[in-house]
Symmetry: none
């Protein structure tokens, strides 16, 4: 068994275990997993290829080229080839999981429906799907779709009858301002100093995941000393976070360059002090409210008249949250600017609803929306 070993994590190695703890196994994940003992792993985190099926090149509006994921490991002949690949690794993972073990998989709409169906077919029991909302996603440059601002994780037990899986509910709740942890997580993408760069200054791996995401997963569904297996180890985020949080890891990676980078990265990690291993508080939402939401929720009706404080200008509210000044249509800010012949305008304070002889700034309705949404932050 070819492997590279990283410095041992702090927690004790289980007595008599045949597991190659805190090690990256070089090779195909199905073949490597078959060498491991059955029922030996507490949790699996898997970030499989997404099968993006990209066609041509994509340019930003400034004509720069988007550095897309075109690596050979992400190319599959067909959906059925991808499905066969998926079933194979899901089966291998299910064998090495303890009866109480759980699986986490991450994916996008390109592959996650295939993965979810396959794991249901194989007898896994879904506990949750979790949405990773990206605070700073790549925009949609052509304006032809919604900005793809999230990825999906599936959390599943080995079977419908699985009992005793780990879920650190109390710690998560305490770390979330005493609110129950929700299935939607707001976390920034991996960038800046956290992003591994080669000597040439280019990213080591095209799809490195943020450590905050793995930390949330491990703190939610494992205990200190648990063994976490990652069959698509890549740049080793799972290993780095596991070591930091006092969990053991086992990685499997086909690419020796990725594995080498991951080993160096993990060796540089300083494990947290024992008492610090509690759930990190959830990041709060920026309380940005769109005027379309105010209309959508019925606080201001389509067709309503908006006026400025001195009633010099009048605009009509439209169903989609734009407003019209004569024939000119745009956002509350843009139309406020147009009305005054200015470059910019804060539409929230400029526009008012006139009712019962009183002017109500639309900003008041924004506050109501914020109150409604506060719990969801």
């Amino acid at each position: 068994m070819a492997f590279q070993r990283t410095g041992a994590a702090r927690a004790e190695r289980p007595e008599g275990s045949a597991l190659p703890l805190d090690t990256i196994l070089i090779g195909d994940c199905v073949a490597e997993l078959e060498k491991l003992p059955a029922g030996s792993v507490d949790m699996v985190f898997a970030d499989p290829p997404y099968n993006l099926q990209l066609q041509g090149a994509l340019h930003r509006p400034d004509d720069s080229l988007v550095d897309a994921v075109t690596d050979s490991w992400d190319r599959f002949e067909s959906f059925s080839a991808y499905d066969a690949f998926t079933r194979a690794w899901l089966l291998a993972v299910r064998r090495v999981l303890k009866p109480s073990g759980t699986l986490w998989v991450i994916g996008s709409y390109h592959n996650i429906f295939r993965v979810g169906s396959a794991l249901q077919d194989l007898g896994y029991w879904i506990l949750n799907d979790v949405v990773w909302r990206k605070a700073n996603p790549m925009p949609n440059f052509r304006g032809r779709r919604f900005t793809n601002a999230h990825e999906t994780l599936i959390w599943a037990a080995r079977g419908a009858d699985a009992k005793g899986y780990t879920f650190n509910y109390e710690a998560l709740k305490a770390g979330n301002e005493d609110l129950q942890p929700r299935s939607d997580w707001l976390i920034p993408i991996c960038s800046g100093a956290e992003r591994l760069k080669g000597e040439d200054g280019r990213k080591v791996h095209p799809t490195q995941k943020p450590e905050a995401l793995l930390a949330r997963v491990l703190l939610s569904a494992t205990k200190p000393g648990d063994v976490v297996l990652d069959p698509f180890f890549g740049s080793g985020t799972t290993g780095a976070v596991a070591r930091r949080l006092g969990r053991h890891f086992i990685g499997v990676e086909r690419d020796r360059d990725y594995a080498a980078a991951a080993n160096a990265r993990i060796a540089a990690v300083t494990p947290e002090a024992e008492e610090a291993l509690t759930a990190a508080p959830a990041k709060r939402d920026a309380a940005r409210v769109a005027f379309a939401t105010v209309v959508e929720r019925g606080l201001v009706a389509p067709g309503a008249r908006l006026v400025d404080e001195r009633r010099r200008y009048e605009a009509v509210v439209r169903a989609d949250g734009t407003i019209a000044l004569g024939t000119v249509i745009g956002s509350i800010h843009r139309i406020g600017a147009v009305a005054q012949g200015r470059e910019a305008c804060n539409g929230w304070t400029f526009w008012h609803v006139a009712e019962a002889g009183r002017l109500t700034p639309i900003d008041a309705y924004r506050e109501i929306i914020r109150a409604e949404d506060r719990l969801a932050g």
Copy 2:
């Protein structure tokens, strides 16, 4: 064809159409859809049922370690029935969709992975998956999982080569603080006065969707007067919102009680005023203007000098509407690209006329031509 008709929506019924507009068809959706003409519907919104057999499996006493093969085979049978049902309605829907039509489906982790896989298998092309984040979800009482705080929608075109689908990008952006719309939507669940109650005070339908959700869908992906089909009409949220927003609906529902409640609900809806609904003009829909026309009509004279904003490049206007950069001759776009060494360039915004010390983008002259042509009808 058995149906119940609601008061006609405001928009005109297309001439010679065989479609039962603004009507609820009573019956099985596959059978009813097969009676409709192919390629006739602009959008489909589907809220299919979950697999109840699955939930039966959940409650089955199953404490002992069951033979894994038998267990998964049994589960496969129930998934298989759900998959067959899903393929049937997805196929029927695909037939009635226009080539440029799109499908929206909503579901939770119980069924959405099956639906997503099936629609990919049938040739649909996913445009986005969208997360409906619930501002006020049902709490998780036992504290054994994350609070299930979202549902997933899939937005798909009829095929990978489908063109011309409706996406009201400019309006959505203007209604969203001038930021492009994202794939995660925060909307409260349906409750309070909006929730339909029977005479006994109990809710009419167990999974009534909020009107705000449907409004977001219809405003994103349809135009006024479009035909929206809902094969699982239920309490009729799709119809109520379609009527309010000046879209036509066709509903299919097996349960006569649901259909009756939906009809009453829709009849009580007041359509929005026309002016609040008209499609906001998008730049990409504006009439094309040739630069030759600008020269022809004397707005820019042959021989005039064009420069970029920073006056790094200078080109000469020719009588035929081409421009010359040194010895290179071509369109305003081609020459703008050549000047910067880029693949592409929008010549309308890149090139300017310098006069009286001020730079005027030639786009301004295009606007004048458009205004002239509008007056001429």
